[in-house]
């Protein structure tokens, strides 16, 4: 996820309430920049970015809560729920990626092994679902899973894929509800009030 947008034209001596609204408007736009990916459940990175954007908006509303009207609490609640739902989805994505890695390591041939070696050497995560250090640690070539262990991992992978589908549906239903109630406009109106 890219760093949060730097908001220019902030005035250090202006009332905090005014500046807080400028920041919240930008964070709200950042959130909706990712909305186009909501309908595709396999846009994992983009959905993760949506989650980070929701979190940034939520924290902005919380940090400056004293300067916003009471209605901000409702917005914070919705964002927290959204963030939790997308967080669970991301947890599933990470576990699924890890399980695929564990299961694919032995049978995927030289190209796969080379790719893993490259990932393990990376110092930073740089958009990878799993941190390179974790890949290196789990895929220790001296300790691959046995056939019996692989069976358990395969069953876990299947179960986790089902869990992910359910989690995506929960998130998607909530998102639809927010769209129906015009959540974006609600936040804009809330920010326009004192």
């Amino acid at each position: 996820m890219a760093k949060a947008k730097t908001i220019s034209k902030l005035d250090c001596q202006a009332p905090t309430g005014q500046m807080a609204r400028l920041i919240a408007h930008v964070r709200l736009e950042e959130l909706y920049d990712w909305a186009q990916y909501v309908d595709n459940p396999y846009h994992s990175k983009e959905l993760h970015n949506l989650r980070i954007a929701a979190k940034r908006l939520r924290y902005t509303l919380e940090v400056f809560e004293e300067t916003f009207p009471q209605q901000s609490k409702g917005s914070i609640q919705e964002l927290t729920q959204l963030q939790d739902e997308l967080g669970l989805l991301h947890d599933s994505d990470v576990l699924i990626a890890l399980l695929r890695l564990c299961l694919g390591g032995q049978e995927s041939g030289a190209a796969y092994q080379k790719a893993l070696v490259r990932v393990k050497k990376q110092k930073k995560r740089k958009g990878l679902m799993l941190p390179p250090e974790l890949v290196a640690s789990v895929l220790d070539s001296t300790d691959s899973p046995s056939a019996g262990e692989r069976y358990g991992l395969e069953q876990l992978l299947i179960a986790e894929q089902h869990t992910r589908e359910e989690r995506y549906r929960t998130f998607r239903d909530h998102w639809s509800r927010l769209q129906e109630q015009n959540f974006r406009q609600e936040v804009v109106h809330m920010l326009d009030r004192l």
Binding site: A20, E66, E154, L156
Partner: protein, 509 residues
Amino acid sequence: MPIDQSQVRGAIDIGSNTIHIVVAHSSPDDLAILADEVDLVRIGASVTSTGEISEQKRDEALAVIRRYKTLAEQLGAANILVVATEAIRQANNSAMFLEQVRRETGLTVHLVSGDSEAALTFYGATYETVKKADPTMPLAVMDLGGGSMELITAHGSQITWLTSIPIGSGSLHDCYMPSDPPNRGELDAARAFLRSSLLDMQIQQEISTLIATGGSANSLLSLAHRADFLEAAIHHLTIDALQQCETLLTSTPAEEVAERYGQPVERTRILPAGCVVIQEMMARFHLTEIQVSSHGIREGMLLARARYGEQWLGRVQAEVHKMNLDRSEANETTPVQDNEAESSAATTSQNTTTSDNGAYNEPFADYGQKMLRERLHKLLDWRDEVVKNDDSEAVHRMRVASRRLRAILDAYESCCQPRKFKKIYREIKHMADLLGAARDTDVMLQKLQDHYQAVPYEEQAGIMWLIEHLQSYRQQKQHALERYFARLDEGILRKRIESCLPKGAESNG
């Protein structure tokens, strides 16, 4: 004597009826006024009818403010102070409007509470009287605006009590007396409403001198002079003169009165309401005459700025706050605010019960410094628990605290010194990454441990294989956290956080 340009300032107030500017050379106790202009924009009418400042009113207001800014700059004003009052306090889209003013004119508008408005008005309306009078003379000031009325009592320059009531000439006209001219039934309804609203004001001293300020009071004095209800040399309004004004205003259409007596027509429309409010206030305090001052909140702003410097509004707010505290302690058995709040329940809450939204008006940098200190403190509170590693929640909590701290840094980036910001941001991000790696592993481990308990025996071996690998990885992450925190100097981190946001930057106030 040449004018010291650094002491020339402009003061604009955005009220419910008018937008008004005074440019003056100011000292702590005196003003030499260079310009005094007013435009009737009636923002309050839009707020009363729709709850919002309409686009048309926003455009009109912006045009006036731009013109005033040019005027102040032409006169060499070093600062232009701007406040907004009742209509803006009430509007649903006030924040948007204030931001629009800031964006399009570069002027920061301070939204002041009714109490601060009252105190500033008092300073402005009385500075000439107080210079000449007995310093302990009991007096009161009423500022009748378009959307609210402020009443302040004092001994000389020492304020003893103040209140702000959301009743003004504009709002009373819009709600009770919309006909032109207003009819008898409307007049009676307005009077009945006012009497019930004013009845419970628990003023704690006798009032023998009442100074009225605001557009309505000054226009009524002007009308009384031009219509020969008062001699030109008399600068106070008598009960007889007001009765004659009322008769004229309730029997003649506003346009005709305006034309005949050289009054602005928009002002003349709301003048009957202003007349009724002043009459009811005089009746409430058993007075037969009131003085009229052409000075008010704008002059008060300029005097406060000259007295207190850049923190002028903060000082006024602090004084008002202290007075409210004293008052509530003195009235513990019969709180003034409660009675007043009940009396005006038909309109909106009393401003005596509201203070300035301190956080809203606090300078952005000051708020940021406070928040950064608080959040860093909360973050570091978890340090020992994370190192102990008895409870996985500690890592989670500390990671969340690091994210909140980063959210503040993100918000304040453009206000920070770039090099210092980068350094501290990297530091906090590094800490957050270490915590994140540990936390993400904890989440997976928890999930796998739960799953292990729930699956058939033949699936457990694979789960345990993964758990063991992850536990080993988690242990590496714990060591990394321990090494990091062993090296972390909290004092240096605090200093870096505190120094990345500048202090005391110049403002236009």
